[in-house]
Protein backbone atom coordinates (compact mmCIF):
# COMPACT_ATOMS: atom_id res chain seq x y z
CA UNK A 1 0.00 0.00 0.00
CA UNK A 2 1.21 3.45 -0.91
CA UNK A 3 2.26 5.51 2.07
CA UNK A 4 0.33 8.63 3.04
CA UNK A 5 3.36 10.78 2.27
CA UNK A 6 3.78 9.23 -1.18
CA UNK A 7 0.11 9.89 -1.85
CA UNK A 8 0.11 13.60 -0.96
CA UNK A 9 3.50 14.15 -2.58
CA UNK A 10 2.68 12.24 -5.78
CA UNK A 11 3.27 14.37 -8.86
CA UNK A 12 6.21 16.21 -7.30
CA UNK A 13 9.66 15.46 -8.61
CA UNK A 14 11.58 14.69 -5.47
CA UNK A 15 10.75 16.56 -2.26
CA UNK A 16 8.40 19.51 -2.72
CA UNK A 17 10.03 22.91 -2.15
CA UNK A 18 8.33 23.97 1.06
CA UNK A 19 10.29 27.24 1.11
CA UNK A 20 8.05 28.31 -1.76
CA UNK A 21 4.85 29.75 -0.22
CA UNK A 22 2.68 28.67 -3.15
CA UNK A 23 3.94 25.10 -2.93
CA UNK A 24 3.43 24.98 0.83
CA UNK A 25 -0.06 26.47 0.48
CA UNK A 26 -0.92 23.78 -2.07
CA UNK A 27 0.42 21.09 0.26
CA UNK A 28 -1.66 22.48 3.14
CA UNK A 29 -4.76 22.18 0.93
CA UNK A 30 -3.76 18.72 -0.29
CA UNK A 31 -3.10 17.47 3.25
CA UNK A 32 -6.17 19.24 4.60
CA UNK A 33 -8.32 17.44 2.07
CA UNK A 34 -6.68 14.08 2.74
CA UNK A 35 -6.76 14.45 6.52
CA UNK A 36 -10.42 15.44 6.66
CA UNK A 37 -11.19 12.67 4.18
CA UNK A 38 -9.43 9.94 6.17
CA UNK A 39 -10.69 11.16 9.53
CA UNK A 40 -14.17 12.12 8.28
CA UNK A 41 -13.30 15.34 10.08
CA UNK A 42 -14.67 18.83 9.71
CA UNK A 43 -13.43 22.40 9.14
CA UNK A 44 -11.99 21.86 5.66
CA UNK A 45 -13.45 25.24 4.67
CA UNK A 46 -11.36 27.01 7.32
CA UNK A 47 -8.20 25.11 6.36
CA UNK A 48 -8.64 26.17 2.75
CA UNK A 49 -9.17 29.80 3.68
CA UNK A 50 -6.14 30.04 5.97
CA UNK A 51 -3.79 28.05 3.70
CA UNK A 52 -1.77 30.94 2.24
CA UNK A 53 -1.51 32.72 5.60
CA UNK A 54 -0.03 29.65 7.28
CA UNK A 55 2.09 28.82 4.23
CA UNK A 56 3.66 32.26 4.02
CA UNK A 57 4.38 32.23 7.76
CA UNK A 58 6.07 28.83 7.82
CA UNK A 59 7.86 29.09 4.48
CA UNK A 60 9.14 32.63 4.69
CA UNK A 61 8.30 34.64 7.78
CA UNK A 62 8.74 32.75 11.03
CA UNK A 63 12.13 32.26 12.60
CA UNK A 64 11.61 28.65 13.66
CA UNK A 65 13.82 25.60 13.39
CA UNK A 66 12.43 22.07 13.09
CA UNK A 67 15.71 20.75 14.50
CA UNK A 68 15.31 22.89 17.60
CA UNK A 69 11.59 23.59 18.05
CA UNK A 70 12.10 25.17 21.48
CA UNK A 71 15.04 27.43 20.70
CA UNK A 72 14.64 30.45 22.97
CA UNK A 73 14.77 33.17 20.31
CA UNK A 74 12.21 31.53 18.01
CA UNK A 75 9.17 33.42 16.82
CA UNK A 76 5.94 32.24 18.43
CA UNK A 77 2.90 31.39 16.38
CA UNK A 78 -0.47 30.88 18.00
CA UNK A 79 -3.31 29.53 15.92
CA UNK A 80 -6.16 31.06 17.86
CA UNK A 81 -8.74 29.61 15.46
CA UNK A 82 -7.78 26.14 16.63
CA UNK A 83 -10.31 24.43 14.37
CA UNK A 84 -8.00 25.06 11.41
CA UNK A 85 -5.43 22.92 13.23
CA UNK A 86 -4.85 20.60 10.32
CA UNK A 87 -3.41 23.54 8.33
CA UNK A 88 -0.76 24.06 11.01
CA UNK A 89 -0.14 20.34 11.44
CA UNK A 90 0.36 20.05 7.67
CA UNK A 91 2.74 23.04 7.57
CA UNK A 92 4.76 21.70 10.51
CA UNK A 93 5.00 18.22 9.03
CA UNK A 94 5.88 19.46 5.56
CA UNK A 95 8.60 21.74 6.96
CA UNK A 96 10.16 18.93 8.95
CA UNK A 97 8.88 19.24 12.52
CA UNK A 98 7.46 15.72 12.45
CA UNK A 99 6.89 13.05 9.79
CA UNK A 100 4.31 13.81 7.10
CA UNK A 101 3.18 10.21 7.52
CA UNK A 102 1.88 11.09 10.98
CA UNK A 103 -0.75 13.41 9.48
CA UNK A 104 -2.88 10.41 8.57
CA UNK A 105 -3.55 9.85 12.29
CA UNK A 106 -5.41 13.17 12.60
CA UNK A 107 -8.58 12.60 14.73
CA UNK A 108 -7.74 8.89 15.14
CA UNK A 109 -7.93 6.94 18.37
CA UNK A 110 -4.60 7.19 20.16
CA UNK A 111 -3.29 10.00 17.93
CA UNK A 112 -1.67 13.18 19.23
CA UNK A 113 -3.18 15.23 16.40
CA UNK A 114 -6.53 16.35 17.77
CA UNK A 115 -9.05 18.18 15.64
CA UNK A 116 -8.28 21.46 17.38
CA UNK A 117 -4.61 22.26 17.49
CA UNK A 118 -2.75 20.75 20.44
CA UNK A 119 0.77 21.27 21.75
CA UNK A 120 0.96 18.02 23.70
CA UNK A 121 3.61 15.92 22.03
CA UNK A 122 3.47 17.92 18.79
CA UNK A 123 6.80 19.65 18.05
CA UNK A 124 6.37 23.24 16.88
CA UNK A 125 2.94 23.91 18.36
CA UNK A 126 3.25 26.55 21.08
CA UNK A 127 -0.27 26.56 22.43
CA UNK A 128 -3.34 24.36 22.39
CA UNK A 129 -6.47 26.18 21.35
CA UNK A 130 -9.97 25.26 20.32
CA UNK A 131 -12.03 27.48 22.57
CA UNK A 132 -12.16 30.73 20.64
CA UNK A 133 -10.96 34.06 21.96
CA UNK A 134 -7.96 32.78 23.92
CA UNK A 135 -5.05 33.08 21.50
CA UNK A 136 -4.64 36.84 21.30
CA UNK A 137 -4.56 37.17 25.09
CA UNK A 138 -1.89 34.49 25.32
CA UNK A 139 -0.01 36.28 22.54
CA UNK A 140 -0.21 39.54 24.50
CA UNK A 141 1.43 37.75 27.45
CA UNK A 142 4.16 36.28 25.27
CA UNK A 143 4.90 39.59 23.57
CA UNK A 144 4.91 41.33 26.94
CA UNK A 145 7.39 38.77 28.28
CA UNK A 146 9.63 39.28 25.25
CA UNK A 147 9.46 43.02 25.70
CA UNK A 148 10.37 42.75 29.39
CA UNK A 149 13.37 40.64 28.40
CA UNK A 150 14.38 43.00 25.61
CA UNK A 151 14.15 40.02 23.23
CA UNK A 152 13.75 40.49 19.50
CA UNK A 153 11.52 37.56 18.62
CA UNK A 154 7.98 38.22 17.50
CA UNK A 155 4.63 36.80 18.42
CA UNK A 156 2.17 35.98 15.64
CA UNK A 157 -1.48 35.21 16.33
CA UNK A 158 -3.83 33.93 13.64
CA UNK A 159 -7.46 34.66 14.44
CA UNK A 160 -10.71 33.87 12.75
CA UNK A 161 -13.21 36.58 11.93
CA UNK A 162 -16.05 34.79 13.69
CA UNK A 163 -13.78 34.50 16.68
CA UNK A 164 -13.81 38.29 16.94
CA UNK A 165 -17.34 37.98 18.35
CA UNK A 166 -15.63 37.01 21.61
CA UNK A 167 -15.27 39.84 24.12
CA UNK A 168 -11.95 38.45 25.27
CA UNK A 169 -10.47 39.25 21.84
CA UNK A 170 -11.30 42.91 22.36
CA UNK A 171 -9.88 42.83 25.88
CA UNK A 172 -6.62 41.60 24.40
CA UNK A 173 -6.76 44.19 21.61
CA UNK A 174 -6.98 46.93 24.25
CA UNK A 175 -4.20 45.41 26.34
CA UNK A 176 -1.82 44.96 23.39
CA UNK A 177 -2.17 48.62 22.49
CA UNK A 178 -1.84 49.72 26.10
CA UNK A 179 1.43 47.81 26.54
CA UNK A 180 2.71 49.07 23.16
CA UNK A 181 3.52 45.58 21.91
CA UNK A 182 5.04 46.42 18.54
CA UNK A 183 6.42 42.91 18.09
CA UNK A 184 2.96 41.40 18.29
CA UNK A 185 1.42 40.68 14.90
CA UNK A 186 -2.17 39.54 14.56
CA UNK A 187 -3.56 38.12 11.33
CA UNK A 188 -7.27 37.72 10.82
CA UNK A 189 -8.41 35.07 8.38
CA UNK A 190 -11.29 37.26 7.22
CA UNK A 191 -13.35 34.81 5.21
CA UNK A 192 -16.65 36.46 6.12
CA UNK A 193 -18.26 33.21 7.22
CA UNK A 194 -18.72 31.62 10.58
CA UNK A 195 -20.44 28.53 11.84
CA UNK A 196 -24.05 29.15 10.87
CA UNK A 197 -23.98 31.96 8.36
CA UNK A 198 -22.03 34.99 7.22
CA UNK A 199 -20.21 37.32 9.57
CA UNK A 200 -22.34 40.15 8.22
CA UNK A 201 -25.54 38.32 9.17
CA UNK A 202 -24.21 37.31 12.58
CA UNK A 203 -22.25 40.10 14.25
CA UNK A 204 -20.95 42.64 11.77
CA UNK A 205 -17.28 43.57 12.13
CA UNK A 206 -17.10 46.39 9.59
CA UNK A 207 -15.59 48.91 9.55
CA UNK A 208 -13.13 46.30 10.78
CA UNK A 209 -9.78 47.85 9.86
CA UNK A 210 -10.92 51.14 11.34
CA UNK A 211 -11.93 49.40 14.57
CA UNK A 212 -8.41 48.05 15.08
CA UNK A 213 -6.96 51.47 14.28
CA UNK A 214 -9.36 53.12 16.69
CA UNK A 215 -8.18 50.65 19.33
CA UNK A 216 -4.60 51.79 18.82
CA UNK A 217 -3.23 49.28 16.34
CA UNK A 218 -1.54 49.71 13.00
CA UNK A 219 -3.68 47.85 10.52
CA UNK A 220 -3.81 46.93 6.86
CA UNK A 221 -5.98 44.80 4.63
CA UNK A 222 -4.65 42.41 2.00
CA UNK A 223 -5.81 39.63 -0.27
CA UNK A 224 -5.19 36.65 1.97
CA UNK A 225 -4.71 34.26 -0.95
CA UNK A 226 -2.06 36.37 -2.70
CA UNK A 227 1.21 35.06 -1.28
CA UNK A 228 3.21 38.02 -2.62
CA UNK A 229 0.79 40.48 -1.03
CA UNK A 230 0.96 38.55 2.24
CA UNK A 231 4.76 38.48 2.14
CA UNK A 232 4.82 42.23 1.64
CA UNK A 233 2.33 42.74 4.47
CA UNK A 234 4.40 40.61 6.85
CA UNK A 235 7.44 42.63 5.80
CA UNK A 236 5.65 45.82 6.84
CA UNK A 237 4.48 44.14 10.04
CA UNK A 238 8.08 43.28 10.91
CA UNK A 239 9.22 46.82 10.18
CA UNK A 240 6.50 47.97 12.54
CA UNK A 241 8.75 47.14 15.53
CA UNK A 242 9.63 50.46 17.11
CA UNK A 243 6.29 52.05 16.29
CA UNK A 244 5.00 51.32 19.83
CA UNK A 245 1.84 49.92 18.31
CA UNK A 246 0.83 46.32 17.63
CA UNK A 247 0.16 45.33 14.01
CA UNK A 248 -2.77 43.55 12.45
CA UNK A 249 -3.15 42.17 8.94
CA UNK A 250 -6.72 41.66 7.85
CA UNK A 251 -6.33 38.93 5.28
CA UNK A 252 -9.42 38.85 3.08
CA UNK A 253 -10.03 35.24 2.18
CA UNK A 254 -12.64 32.92 0.79
CA UNK A 255 -13.86 30.10 2.95
CA UNK A 256 -13.28 26.85 1.04
CA UNK A 257 -10.85 28.59 -1.34
CA UNK A 258 -9.55 26.42 -4.15
CA UNK A 259 -12.37 23.93 -4.37
CA UNK A 260 -15.19 25.54 -6.30
CA UNK A 261 -18.15 23.83 -4.65
CA UNK A 262 -16.77 24.51 -1.18
CA UNK A 263 -16.14 28.20 -1.76
CA UNK A 264 -18.38 30.48 0.26
CA UNK A 265 -20.53 27.50 1.12
CA UNK A 266 -21.37 27.30 4.81
CA UNK A 267 -21.92 23.54 4.47
CA UNK A 268 -18.18 23.00 4.38
CA UNK A 269 -17.54 24.33 7.83
CA UNK A 270 -18.49 20.89 9.12
CA UNK A 271 -18.99 18.60 6.12
CA UNK A 272 -16.35 15.98 5.40
CA UNK A 273 -15.20 15.31 1.82
CA UNK A 274 -16.16 11.77 0.82
CA UNK A 275 -17.01 9.83 -2.34
CA UNK A 276 -17.59 11.87 -5.46
CA UNK A 277 -17.05 15.09 -3.59
CA UNK A 278 -13.61 13.97 -2.50
CA UNK A 279 -12.75 12.93 -6.07
CA UNK A 280 -13.96 16.22 -7.49
CA UNK A 281 -12.05 18.21 -4.87
CA UNK A 282 -8.87 16.27 -5.58
CA UNK A 283 -9.25 16.87 -9.30
CA UNK A 284 -9.58 20.60 -8.77
CA UNK A 285 -6.54 20.67 -6.52
CA UNK A 286 -4.50 18.68 -9.03
CA UNK A 287 -5.28 21.31 -11.65
CA UNK A 288 -3.82 23.97 -9.35
CA UNK A 289 -0.58 22.16 -8.59
CA UNK A 290 2.26 24.74 -8.53
Amino acid sequence: MESYEALVHSGFEGKPDVRDPKTLAWLIRRNGLEMTHISRGSHIGSVLSVAEIIAVLYSSVLNVDPKEPKKPDRDRLILSKGHAGSAVYAALAETGFFPVEQLKTHYANGSILSGHVSHKGVPGVEVSTGALGHGLGIGVGMALGAKMDGARWRTYVVLGDGECDEGSVWEAILQAAQYRLDRLIAVVDYNHMQSLTTVEDTLKLEPFEQKWKDFGWNAESVNGHDTDALLAAFGRAKENAGSRKPYVILAHTVKGKGISFMENNILWHYRTPQGEEYDAALKELEAQRP
Binding site: H134, A146, Q175
Partner: protein, 307 residues
Protein backbone atom coordinates in the same frame (compact mmCIF):
# COMPACT_ATOMS: atom_id res chain seq x y z
CA UNK B 1 -4.59 37.03 55.16
CA UNK B 2 -4.43 39.58 52.37
CA UNK B 3 -1.71 41.52 54.13
CA UNK B 4 0.24 38.39 55.05
CA UNK B 5 0.12 37.40 51.39
CA UNK B 6 1.34 40.81 50.22
CA UNK B 7 4.16 40.75 52.76
CA UNK B 8 5.46 37.36 51.66
CA UNK B 9 5.06 38.27 48.00
CA UNK B 10 7.04 41.47 48.42
CA UNK B 11 9.86 39.57 50.04
CA UNK B 12 9.90 36.89 47.36
CA UNK B 13 9.79 39.48 44.57
CA UNK B 14 12.82 41.08 46.12
CA UNK B 15 14.74 37.83 45.73
CA UNK B 16 13.24 36.54 42.49
CA UNK B 17 13.04 39.00 39.64
CA UNK B 18 11.06 36.54 37.50
CA UNK B 19 7.95 36.99 39.66
CA UNK B 20 5.37 39.24 38.00
CA UNK B 21 2.01 40.32 39.37
CA UNK B 22 -0.99 41.11 37.21
CA UNK B 23 -3.95 42.77 38.83
CA UNK B 24 -7.45 43.05 37.46
CA UNK B 25 -7.61 46.73 38.41
CA UNK B 26 -7.98 45.93 42.11
CA UNK B 27 -5.92 45.91 45.29
CA UNK B 28 -4.73 49.50 45.32
CA UNK B 29 -3.98 49.63 49.03
CA UNK B 30 -2.61 46.10 49.35
CA UNK B 31 -0.33 46.26 46.34
CA UNK B 32 0.87 49.83 46.84
CA UNK B 33 4.23 48.85 48.28
CA UNK B 34 4.80 46.33 45.52
CA UNK B 35 3.89 48.96 42.98
CA UNK B 36 6.36 51.39 44.51
CA UNK B 37 9.18 48.90 44.76
CA UNK B 38 8.69 46.89 41.57
CA UNK B 39 6.78 49.11 39.15
CA UNK B 40 7.96 47.11 36.14
CA UNK B 41 6.61 43.88 37.56
CA UNK B 42 3.13 45.00 38.51
CA UNK B 43 0.85 45.05 35.49
CA UNK B 44 -2.68 46.32 35.53
CA UNK B 45 -4.68 44.26 33.03
CA UNK B 46 -7.72 46.46 33.43
CA UNK B 47 -11.17 45.08 34.11
CA UNK B 48 -10.63 42.29 31.63
CA UNK B 49 -10.25 39.06 33.58
CA UNK B 50 -10.48 36.65 30.67
CA UNK B 51 -7.64 38.16 28.71
CA UNK B 52 -5.78 38.81 31.95
CA UNK B 53 -5.57 35.08 32.62
CA UNK B 54 -4.65 34.23 29.00
CA UNK B 55 -1.99 36.92 29.21
CA UNK B 56 -0.67 35.38 32.42
CA UNK B 57 -0.29 32.04 30.65
CA UNK B 58 1.59 33.68 27.77
CA UNK B 59 3.79 35.63 30.13
CA UNK B 60 4.54 32.50 32.14
CA UNK B 61 5.70 30.80 28.94
CA UNK B 62 8.59 33.29 28.87
CA UNK B 63 9.98 31.82 32.07
CA UNK B 64 8.15 33.77 34.70
CA UNK B 65 6.05 33.07 37.76
CA UNK B 66 2.91 35.11 37.16
CA UNK B 67 0.39 35.97 39.83
CA UNK B 68 -3.09 37.07 38.88
CA UNK B 69 -4.79 39.10 41.57
CA UNK B 70 -8.43 40.00 41.94
CA UNK B 71 -11.32 39.61 44.33
CA UNK B 72 -14.23 37.25 44.89
CA UNK B 73 -15.41 35.40 41.82
CA UNK B 74 -13.69 37.70 39.34
CA UNK B 75 -10.40 35.79 38.94
CA UNK B 76 -12.14 32.41 39.03
CA UNK B 77 -15.58 32.23 37.47
CA UNK B 78 -15.19 34.84 34.75
CA UNK B 79 -11.95 33.43 33.29
CA UNK B 80 -12.60 29.80 34.19
CA UNK B 81 -11.98 28.46 30.69
CA UNK B 82 -8.78 30.49 30.45
CA UNK B 83 -7.62 28.97 33.74
CA UNK B 84 -8.48 25.47 32.55
CA UNK B 85 -7.19 25.63 28.97
CA UNK B 86 -4.50 28.27 28.89
CA UNK B 87 -2.98 27.82 32.34
CA UNK B 88 -3.53 24.38 33.82
CA UNK B 89 -3.50 22.39 30.57
CA UNK B 90 -0.23 24.08 29.60
CA UNK B 91 1.15 23.64 33.12
CA UNK B 92 1.70 27.39 33.12
CA UNK B 93 3.35 28.84 36.21
CA UNK B 94 0.37 31.03 36.99
CA UNK B 95 -0.99 31.67 40.48
CA UNK B 96 -4.61 32.72 40.71
CA UNK B 97 -4.98 34.76 43.87
CA UNK B 98 -8.49 35.46 45.08
CA UNK B 99 -9.09 37.84 47.94
CA UNK B 100 -12.52 37.49 49.44
CA UNK B 101 -13.27 33.77 49.64
CA UNK B 102 -16.74 33.18 51.10
CA UNK B 103 -18.68 36.08 52.60
CA UNK B 104 -15.77 38.52 52.95
CA UNK B 105 -17.57 41.12 50.87
CA UNK B 106 -20.77 40.38 52.75
CA UNK B 107 -22.74 43.58 52.35
CA UNK B 108 -21.79 44.00 48.69
CA UNK B 109 -24.21 41.28 47.66
CA UNK B 110 -24.20 37.85 46.05
CA UNK B 111 -22.11 38.87 43.04
CA UNK B 112 -19.24 39.33 45.48
CA UNK B 113 -19.77 36.15 47.51
CA UNK B 114 -17.30 33.47 46.42
CA UNK B 115 -19.18 30.38 47.42
CA UNK B 116 -18.60 27.89 44.60
CA UNK B 117 -14.95 28.56 43.79
CA UNK B 118 -13.47 25.69 45.78
CA UNK B 119 -15.72 23.10 44.15
CA UNK B 120 -15.06 24.41 40.67
CA UNK B 121 -11.32 24.80 41.01
CA UNK B 122 -10.95 21.45 42.75
CA UNK B 123 -12.47 19.73 39.72
CA UNK B 124 -9.69 20.91 37.40
CA UNK B 125 -7.04 18.22 36.99
CA UNK B 126 -3.56 19.05 38.21
CA UNK B 127 -4.21 22.43 39.82
CA UNK B 128 -3.02 23.11 43.36
CA UNK B 129 -5.61 24.79 45.63
CA UNK B 130 -4.63 26.53 48.85
CA UNK B 131 -7.21 27.42 51.50
CA UNK B 132 -5.30 28.91 54.42
CA UNK B 133 -7.21 29.44 57.66
CA UNK B 134 -5.45 32.49 59.05
CA UNK B 135 -2.59 34.92 58.36
CA UNK B 136 0.08 32.56 59.69
CA UNK B 137 -1.10 29.77 57.39
CA UNK B 138 -1.28 32.27 54.55
CA UNK B 139 2.40 33.05 54.99
CA UNK B 140 3.51 29.45 54.66
CA UNK B 141 1.26 28.55 51.76
CA UNK B 142 2.12 31.73 49.84
CA UNK B 143 5.80 30.90 50.14
CA UNK B 144 5.10 27.31 49.10
CA UNK B 145 3.05 28.47 46.12
CA UNK B 146 5.74 30.83 44.86
CA UNK B 147 8.27 28.01 44.79
CA UNK B 148 5.93 25.39 43.37
CA UNK B 149 5.85 25.15 39.58
CA UNK B 150 2.51 24.95 37.80
CA UNK B 151 -0.88 26.56 38.13
CA UNK B 152 -2.14 27.23 41.64
CA UNK B 153 -5.23 28.78 43.18
CA UNK B 154 -4.89 30.70 46.44
CA UNK B 155 -8.14 31.46 48.23
CA UNK B 156 -7.68 34.19 50.77
CA UNK B 157 -9.99 35.90 53.21
CA UNK B 158 -9.47 39.59 53.72
CA UNK B 159 -7.20 41.99 55.57
CA UNK B 160 -7.04 42.29 59.38
CA UNK B 161 -8.27 38.81 60.11
CA UNK B 162 -7.70 37.43 63.58
CA UNK B 163 -4.78 35.09 64.07
CA UNK B 164 -5.68 31.56 65.04
CA UNK B 165 -2.13 30.31 65.38
CA UNK B 166 -0.16 31.73 68.31
CA UNK B 167 2.78 32.58 66.09
CA UNK B 168 4.20 31.59 62.74
CA UNK B 169 3.42 28.10 61.49
CA UNK B 170 6.63 26.14 61.88
CA UNK B 171 7.73 23.05 59.98
CA UNK B 172 4.72 22.83 57.69
CA UNK B 173 5.07 20.49 54.77
CA UNK B 174 2.87 20.54 51.70
CA UNK B 175 -0.01 19.55 51.69
CA UNK B 176 -0.40 18.69 55.37
CA UNK B 177 -3.34 19.51 57.56
CA UNK B 178 -2.61 21.33 60.81
CA UNK B 179 -4.14 20.24 64.11
CA UNK B 180 -4.92 23.29 66.19
CA UNK B 181 -6.71 21.69 69.07
CA UNK B 182 -6.77 18.17 70.41
CA UNK B 183 -10.04 16.38 71.09
CA UNK B 184 -11.58 12.92 71.29
CA UNK B 185 -15.36 13.13 70.91
CA UNK B 186 -15.62 14.71 67.49
CA UNK B 187 -13.32 16.21 64.86
CA UNK B 188 -14.02 19.54 63.19
CA UNK B 189 -12.23 19.81 59.87
CA UNK B 190 -11.96 23.30 58.45
CA UNK B 191 -10.81 24.76 55.14
CA UNK B 192 -10.24 28.49 54.75
CA UNK B 193 -11.06 31.51 56.84
CA UNK B 194 -13.97 29.83 58.59
CA UNK B 195 -11.30 28.35 60.90
CA UNK B 196 -12.00 31.05 63.50
CA UNK B 197 -15.56 29.74 63.75
CA UNK B 198 -14.40 26.14 64.06
CA UNK B 199 -12.17 27.18 66.96
CA UNK B 200 -15.00 29.11 68.55
CA UNK B 201 -17.28 26.09 68.21
CA UNK B 202 -14.70 23.84 69.91
CA UNK B 203 -14.51 26.34 72.77
CA UNK B 204 -18.30 26.30 73.17
CA UNK B 205 -18.39 22.50 73.02
CA UNK B 206 -15.66 22.27 75.67
CA UNK B 207 -17.85 24.32 77.98
CA UNK B 208 -20.43 21.56 77.63
CA UNK B 209 -17.91 18.84 78.28
CA UNK B 210 -17.52 17.84 74.64
CA UNK B 211 -13.96 17.46 73.49
CA UNK B 212 -13.55 18.52 69.85
CA UNK B 213 -10.45 18.26 67.74
CA UNK B 214 -9.94 21.12 65.25
CA UNK B 215 -7.88 20.58 62.13
CA UNK B 216 -7.19 23.18 59.46
CA UNK B 217 -6.60 22.21 55.83
CA UNK B 218 -4.52 24.94 54.21
CA UNK B 219 -4.37 22.80 51.12
CA UNK B 220 -7.61 21.67 49.49
CA UNK B 221 -5.93 20.04 46.52
CA UNK B 222 -4.04 17.84 46.81
CA UNK B 223 -5.85 16.96 50.00
CA UNK B 224 -4.03 15.53 52.99
CA UNK B 225 -5.81 12.20 52.69
CA UNK B 226 -3.45 10.58 55.16
CA UNK B 227 -4.64 12.77 58.02
CA UNK B 228 -8.29 12.38 57.04
CA UNK B 229 -7.94 8.62 56.79
CA UNK B 230 -6.49 8.55 60.29
CA UNK B 231 -9.37 10.65 61.57
CA UNK B 232 -11.92 8.44 59.86
CA UNK B 233 -10.55 5.59 61.98
CA UNK B 234 -10.08 7.59 65.17
CA UNK B 235 -13.52 9.26 65.26
CA UNK B 236 -17.06 8.03 64.80
CA UNK B 237 -18.23 11.48 63.75
CA UNK B 238 -16.55 14.23 61.79
CA UNK B 239 -17.78 17.69 60.88
CA UNK B 240 -16.48 19.70 57.97
CA UNK B 241 -16.82 23.47 57.79
CA UNK B 242 -16.27 25.78 54.84
CA UNK B 243 -17.49 29.25 53.91
CA UNK B 244 -18.71 27.81 50.65
CA UNK B 245 -21.49 25.66 49.28
CA UNK B 246 -21.60 22.17 50.76
CA UNK B 247 -21.69 20.85 47.19
CA UNK B 248 -18.42 19.80 45.67
CA UNK B 249 -15.99 21.59 47.94
CA UNK B 250 -14.07 20.59 51.04
CA UNK B 251 -16.86 18.68 52.78
CA UNK B 252 -17.57 16.76 49.61
CA UNK B 253 -13.91 15.84 49.30
CA UNK B 254 -13.93 14.46 52.84
CA UNK B 255 -17.16 12.55 52.14
CA UNK B 256 -15.66 11.02 49.01
CA UNK B 257 -12.80 9.71 51.08
CA UNK B 258 -15.09 8.56 53.90
CA UNK B 259 -17.28 6.62 51.49
CA UNK B 260 -14.29 4.95 49.90
CA UNK B 261 -12.53 4.26 53.19
CA UNK B 262 -15.61 2.67 54.71
CA UNK B 263 -14.66 2.97 58.38
CA UNK B 264 -18.24 3.73 59.31
CA UNK B 265 -17.34 7.23 60.46
CA UNK B 266 -20.16 9.64 59.69
CA UNK B 267 -19.48 13.04 58.17
CA UNK B 268 -21.63 16.14 58.49
CA UNK B 269 -20.93 19.01 56.14
CA UNK B 270 -21.46 22.56 57.33
CA UNK B 271 -21.52 25.33 54.77
CA UNK B 272 -23.92 27.11 52.51
CA UNK B 273 -26.82 24.79 51.71
CA UNK B 274 -27.55 24.69 47.99
CA UNK B 275 -28.74 28.30 47.74
CA UNK B 276 -27.65 31.82 46.86
CA UNK B 277 -27.19 34.38 49.58
CA UNK B 278 -30.03 36.87 49.47
CA UNK B 279 -29.81 38.74 52.75
CA UNK B 280 -27.64 41.79 53.29
CA UNK B 281 -25.05 41.87 56.01
CA UNK B 282 -21.42 41.64 57.00
CA UNK B 283 -19.37 38.46 56.97
CA UNK B 284 -20.13 37.39 60.52
CA UNK B 285 -23.83 38.20 60.14
CA UNK B 286 -24.04 36.05 57.02
CA UNK B 287 -22.24 33.20 58.77
CA UNK B 288 -24.91 33.38 61.46
CA UNK B 289 -27.80 33.57 59.01
CA UNK B 290 -26.50 30.62 57.02
CA UNK B 291 -25.61 28.54 60.06
CA UNK B 292 -21.83 28.42 60.01
CA UNK B 293 -20.77 30.71 62.85
CA UNK B 294 -19.16 29.21 65.94
CA UNK B 295 -22.45 28.94 67.80
CA UNK B 296 -24.23 27.20 64.94
CA UNK B 297 -21.34 24.82 64.35
CA UNK B 298 -21.33 23.90 68.08
CA UNK B 299 -25.08 23.32 68.09
CA UNK B 300 -24.94 21.20 64.97
CA UNK B 301 -22.04 19.20 66.41
CA UNK B 302 -23.91 18.57 69.63
CA UNK B 303 -27.03 17.45 67.80
CA UNK B 304 -24.96 15.31 65.46
CA UNK B 305 -23.33 13.53 68.41
CA UNK B 306 -26.80 12.68 69.76
CA UNK B 307 -27.92 11.14 66.46
Amino acid sequence: MRDAFARVLEKEMEQNERIVLITGDLGFGVLRRIHERFPDRLINAGIAEQSMVSMAAGLASTGRTVLVYSIGNFPVLRPLEQIRNDCVYHNADVKIVCVGGGFVYGSLGMSHHATEDMAIMRAIPGITCYTPGDPAETEVVTRDMLWRKGTCFLRLGRGNEPAVHDGPVKGWTFPKAITLRGGKDIAILSAGGILTQAMDAAERLAAKGISAQVVSFPCLKPLDTETITEQLSAFRKIITVEEHTVIGGFGSAVCELAAETGTGCRVKRIGLEDCFTTVVGDRQYLREVYGMDGKAIAEKAEAFLKE
